[in-house]
Point group: C2
Chain length 305, copies 2
């Protein structure tokens, strides 16, 4: 019997999963990522650990899917650049393959998560959709006719740096008024602290809505910024669905409802896209990695979280 290994490499942790032939996650693992060479070694160690776990379950590993942030060249199996991991031109695919003796596929975390939502999650049955991951920053996957858009140099999906305000507040990227300055979890917390003079996380800001005018204000700004970013994209690409993932999507209806209302106003003369919350949640990227592995192994399995 053969299984699959999926690894989602994040800035803080590596989430691993061993997937059974039936598409069920039979074992999970979490490892601290580290930085630079240490982080590369941690990915290899995670793959080895899950390969050993597979043996315990009586499974042969058919393929390993690894997804990472940054500029990922899937064809060459190389992470071209990932700032938060300190990687540049890292041949991660071959490193993991050499250590495990198993076929490895490398992919991009957000694009894989977006694809997984389309196969097993909130975008099932949709061919044209936009998946937005709202966490510390904001990244997106554009799926057109069922395929994620990679971009001419592997850098598509930078919705977080779309300008949403004239003379807006500065962003880490060096520009002004980027979407993620206003609407990422990190941006919400930074703006709240600057205006209120005391710190609060995005979750705390959400919990204070209706009771705290500063919370209300930064939340409304975040929604307006998302409306602007999504509108701009929807006019040119016309997806019929927007899926909201990442930590901020846990705000649920408090994010969804004002966003839908804003889009109806901004796209008055067209049908605005439907907006839904992610169904796969924090498992989206690891399921996306499993999807890559399944494809490489030539199996078509109904994965589930």
């Amino acid at each position: 019997m053969s299984g699959l290994i999926a690894l989602d490499v994040g800035g803080t942790t590596i989430k691993g999963a061993l997937v059974s032939p039936g598409g069920v996650i039979v074992e999970r693992s979490v490892h601290p990522t580290g930085f630079g060479e240490e982080a590369a070694a941690a990915v290899v160690a995670a793959a080895e650990l899950l390969t050993a776990a597979a043996a315990r379950h009586g499974l042969t590993v058919a393929a390993i899917g690894v997804v990472t942030p940054g500029i990922v060249d899937s064809e060459r199996g190389v992470v071209g650049y990932a700032s938060n991991l300190g990687w540049r031109d890292l041949p991660l695919r071959d490193r993991v393959a050499a250590a495990t003796g198993v076929r490895v596929v490398l992919g991009h975390d957000v694009r894989s998560a977006g694809e997984a939502e389309g196969r097993f999650g909130a975008a099932r049955g949709h061919r044209d959709y936009l998946h937005i991951a709202i966490g510390t920053g904001i990244a997106a996957t554009v799926v057109i006719d069922g395929r994620p858009v990679v971009g001419s140099a592997g850098g598509a999906g930078e919705l977080g740096h779309v300008p949403v305000r004239d003379d807006g507040e500065p962003c880490g990227c060096g520009q002004l008024g980027c979407l993620e300055v206003y609407a990422s979890a990190g941006g919400l917390a930074r703006r709240y602290e600057r205006i209120a003079g005391r710190p609060a996380s995005a979750a705390e800001i959400h919990a204070r809505l209706g009771d705290d005018p500063v919370a209300d204000r930064v939340w409304a700004d975040a929604v307006a910024a998302l409306v602007r970013g999504i509108t701009t994209h929807a006019l040119v690409i016309e997806p019929d669905l927007v899926v909201l993932g990442g930590g901020l999507a846990q705000a649920g209806a408090d994010l969804l409802r004002p966003l839908e209302e804003g889009l109806r106003g901004a796209l008055a003369w067209r049908t605005p896209p439907e907006v839904r919350l992610s169904e796969l949640g924090p498992d989206a990227a690891v399921l996306g990695a499993a999807l890559l592995a399944a494809r490489a192994a030539g199996v078509d399995m109904p994965l589930s979280a």
Copy 2:
């Protein structure tokens, strides 16, 4: 010997072409379009006239390609909606086919023009590009991996209505600050007249650059608006090329140079797309229609203007 007929249906004129088996336009025709039922009859008449011309040249017509503005359903051969032609649910493909007895394909004018630039024009050899037609309004074709993006309801490419200013000037679509308010030929003329108190066409405004502060101002606003619109798109889709077509592209370097400079500034941390002028000019859409016809007839010909 078989030839092709191509028809580009615009709001004012229908441009027709008879294309030889070698891909050369051997006869052209121009007809006034009219409105509503009259416009539909004019398309049929143009097709009949070029069918007769084909007979004179000793050519059998293998297929007819017709491109129109609006919401075009190529599969059903129906123009769903075209406001400037007064069409709603018009089965144009079957009308032309019934009158001529020839196989007809229906397509979208801007998307076909964008595709033609990729096959025979400025975007030759590019898989991921944005083609912007700047005329009375602004429309765009997004080509990803060699295929034009249609959108979930056939309405992709509305770059002209992307918001580029907070609290911007009103647009005919009911929104504020749309790109085409600032950067279309129509928008330039309207803004010039409002500020200067006297009328001027976009071509006249262009001719006065450096001598007329109002011309300089509205031109700079147009470039800034285009930079914003293209930047927003480039961050999410990452084309490696932008092709400028439509009447305003005739401004050449006066449009191209400041636009390139603006994009370098706005996309400082990425490689900005190259910007080029259309090579096919006003023939882009009719060559796109010929391309559709060639595909329907199963021939692969190197078309030229």
